[in-house]
Subunit: 226 residues, 2 copies
Amino acid sequence: MVQWIEDPISDEETLRIAAPAAGLADSVRDLIDAVIRSEVSADELTSIRGEVDALTKRLRVQQLPGSFGETHGMAGALRAWGNAVIGLRNAIAPPLVNTWHADGTIVGEATLTSAYEGPPGRAHGGVAALLLDQVMGEAAHAAERPGFTARLSLNYRNPTPLGRIRAVAKAEPPAPGEEHKTVVLGTLYSIAADGTATVCVEADGLFILPRAARAKLQSSVEREGM
Amino acid sequence: MVQWIEDPISDEETLRIAAPAAGLADSVRDLIDAVIRSEVSADELTSIRGEVDALTKRLRVQQLPGSFGETHGMAGALRAWGNAVIGLRNAIAPPLVNTWHADGTIVGEATLTSAYEGPPGRAHGGVAALLLDQVMGEAAHAAERPGFTARLSLNYRNPTPLGRIRAVAKAEPPAPGEEHKTVVLGTLYSIAADGTATVCVEADGLFILPRAARAKLQSSVEREGM
């Protein structure tokens, strides 16, 4: 979400590896859904487990020592590959695919599979919070006032069925002299087959940039002409 | 989270399939982490993807038509196997392992891997919300006043590093005549290697049982002597 950290990987390298990595994560998303819903025998589950372990071992032959963000950093939204909500390498992320609009509105789209379930047939209340926190954090960033979540308040208006959702957020103008504090409003919609959007959750949040990070951000903004 | 729905599976059946299914989900959790952190070649990623797809196909030979909760229902906390936070078949769930204490306090423990990352090295702000919503919903249930999340307010006090966390929640006493509305307080702690707990997020939430569900709950409580 906070993305001003320098990324030591070249553009060519990121592009070369991005597609196969994203493809693998997509397949693992499908696997996650199948593990929840499968009715095959206990023996077959155990056999498949052995094969999953073998694949994990092949992936770990060469790997980052820690989490993605710690090691690679992120120079732009498209490189937050480990992110729990938008990360293209992260099978836990639906992923939410966000579009930044010129007026500062962020619109995220995703389809929630069985893996996001809380009450039967519905998205977990915390999943709504997860999606909104991400899109609202990006709205603070789009307003050139990125920060960490300091407060997040969510009002659940209607159940969120599993399936297609849309998360929309936009930052409010800053208070004078308080540019490091950004209030953001967000809404989560359920999208019906005919495209009708129903408000499910309304949120407001406060995003704050810690003092230590402000100087770094400022130099990054000057360098990149953000 | 709301668990009064009848479960058509026998106890023997659930126990027989629970261990291998949970084991497979554990292995897929490890795979998710490896997909994020692997530095193997694009060709190897693509080859592994093909094998993942083949495993998914084997699992889908026989499967539930929809999400877990829709089809099986949940008669107890241990059978919420598809749940996004505690589900033992759900590789997206850390899983949070919750203990219900006699005084109504719920204590959840988990270790957050690279898959839960937001800012580098830290848990995503929305992941904190996801964990707290679950443990707080269970606290409402433990108080015999289960409900759906109506409001969730989170105050982020300190960053949550990836690693070991503890989520604690307890319901407040009900207002007279308002037993279907339950206020719950929750706290997310980071747990250091020496066991020291640091407050990361403080939350309060309101959980409401919809009118239509109240009669069903009442009959279930009478039948099961909950």
